[in-house]
């Protein structure tokens, strides 16, 4: 019994390490293949346009509603202590330091990440990647690297849009509907948000999330079994692993940056 448990444990540790090693090797290959991105920037801009378009509406609408909720909840708490003038600062800091980057990354994994996985997985299943290799074109350079960098570029931009729309949502609820003083709302925000400690850290977070989520999406698609079930499983894994990775990295980065 104990031997069985131990051998199961050993097997799962070994396979986990092997999977991690394979992912690490693919990541290194992807970075090494990124020279094409500089030589042919058009490949990346096309993908930024594609991925950005995919996620823009869901990001903007989610940002607006998160801003609404922050405005309501923030007012409810701050009002107890008579400091509702700080509502603008609360909304802005919550979005810029945490929610903007994290929620954008989670939505990105669900929207653009899944479509990247399915696209690459189906290209593999349809022998398109093998056909490319036989035409002396490296899929890593031509297909994966441009999509990777497009995701890395798109993520901070989408997070910025999320935060901006969220602040607007907080303003609509807090100032327009509840009646918090407009001057206090904006001036507290202006005085309290630091460009380096808050905005830059938020951008760094979403950059790291962009690397993680986009790589997971591409890797899952690239390694998917070339069958309908294989692609379906890979798409699910992208969302599950991508989301958990974002939350784990967020904890790690927050601990490093703001402690």
């Amino acid at each position: 019994m104990i031997i069985e448990v131990l051998s199961h444990l050993g097997a799962s540790v070994r396979s986990g390490l092997a999977a991690l090693g394979a992912a690490g090797r693919t990541f290194a290959e992807l970075i090494a293949a990124s020279g094409t991105v500089l030589r042919r920037p058009r490949l990346v801009t096309d993908q930024v346009h594609f991925i950005g378009n995919y996620s823009l509406v869901i990001i903007a609408v989610s940002g607006l509603f998160v801003g609404f909720v922050l405005g309501l909840q923030g007012y409810y708490t701050l009002n107890k202590y008579g400091s509702e003038q700080a509502l603008g600062l609360l909304v802005a800091l919550s979005l810029i330091r945490e929610l903007g980057a994290v929620v954008t990354a989670l939505l990105f994994a669900g929207r653009a990440g899944t479509s990247l996985t399915a696209e690459i997985g189906l290209m593999k299943a349809g022998e398109q990647l093998a056909a490319m290799e036989m035409m002396a074109v490296d899929p890593m350079r031509r297909v994966l690297a441009p999509r990777f960098w497009a995701g890395v570029i798109a993520m901070p931009v989408l997070a910025a849009i999320f935060s901006a729309v969220g602040v607007l949502g907080g303003y609509i609820v807090g100032v327009r509907l509840i009646g918090v003083d407009e001057g206090a709302f904006w001036s507290q925000m202006q005085a309290g948000v630091d460009v380096w400690a808050d905005v830059l850290y938020g951008v760094i977070k979403s950059f790291v999330f962009g690397v993680a989520v986009t790589f997971i999406a591409l890797y899952e698609g690239y390694c998917a079994a070339p069958t309908p079930e294989g692609v379906a499983r890979a798409t699910t894994r992208t969302v599950v692993i991508g989301s958990l990775m974002v939350l784990w990295l967020d904890f790690l980065l927050t601990a490093l940056m703001f402690s």
């Binding site: 290209m123 349809g126 022998e127 398109q128 093998a130 056909a131 290799e133 036989m134 035409m135 002396a136 074109v137 490296d138 031509r142």
Partner: protein
């Protein structure tokens, strides 16, 4: 005539499972050679080994004097620029138009100006009768047309070696005849060497100079189509005359139906 592709004592296995054993095959320059056999006989694996997508366990594959197994990635890509391959289902890029599919290898592997690429692509598409379908997407054309587009793409760089993986599978009789004629004509016009993997006896025999029969990873017979038609080899006879039973059994090996139904004690 010298051999463009030469396979010597080739063995290949997926892990413990042997796929090809002791293969010797020669593909002379300028000829059309058919590799035939049932599903799972290892035909496609031979193409993948020649293209360097798989590495042999032992033995050698030589393409135009170069040992494929010893090439690094750059060497492989340089060799593949002289090869064209038609995949079983065409493998067209579904997000690109017919025109862009054929232009793809030209744009990626050459520095030709766009006007010249346009002329070359239209000429290739004209050769397969589809220059007027240039702006359609792969989803908008029939299976037979998609196969012809893939054929135009495979010969876009005027390759010295063209490999076809089941080019006739799933085609109607008209498309099948058209595709077979195109394969022969393109080979003769380009002066290239053609390897045709297929299980379609009629079409393959009509265009091939030489035929290899594979069964369970071994060559069981080879010769000209005429020699194969007259062959007494039981496997070749079963295959050429499409007989249901013979050396290739109709039933998947295992217990008899009586045993499965519990009418007799199992062995």
């Amino acid at each position: 005539m010298p051999n463009f592709v030469d396979i010597r004592d080739l063995h290949f296995a997926y892990g413990e499972r042997p796929i090809l054993s002791g293969l010797n095959m020669q593909f002379p320059k300028g000829s059309v050679v058919a590799v035939m056999g049932g599903s799972g006989s290892g035909k496609t694996t031979v193409l993948r080994l020649i293209g360097g997508q798989l590495r042999a366990s032992s033995g050698s594959v030589t393409v135009d004097g170069q040992d494929v197994g010893s090439l690094n990635l750059q060497g492989l890509y340089a060799m593949r620029r002289r090869m064209g391959m038609l995949f079983q289902h065409g493998a067209l890029f579904t997000d690109l138009t017919v025109f862009d599919n054929v232009a793809f290898p030209l744009r990626e592997n050459t520095h030709l100006p766009e006007e010249m690429i346009r002329d070359l692509v239209l000429m290739k598409l004209h050769a397969v009768g589809l220059s007027n379908a240039a702006q359609l997407k792969p989803a908008e054309i029939s299976g037979g047309m998609a196969r012809r587009v893939a054929l135009a793409r495979a010969v876009a760089l005027d390759p010295q070696l063209i490999m076809y993986d089941e080019p006739f599978a799933g085609l109607d009789p008209i498309s099948m005849g058209v595709t077979a004629n195109l394969i022969r004509k393109l080979n003769d016009a380009l002066g290239s060497t053609t390897i045709l993997v297929s299980h379609d006896v009629h079409e393959s025999f009509s265009i091939a100079d030489h035929v290899y029969f594979l069964s369970q990873g071994r060559i069981v017979a080879h010769g000209t189509p005429q020699q194969m038609r007259e062959s007494d080899d039981p496997y070749v006879k079963q295959f050429v005359h499409a007989e249901a039973d013979g050396p290739v059994p109709f039933h998947y090996p295992g217990r008899s139906i009586a045993e499965q139904l519990g009418m007799r004690e199992g062995a």
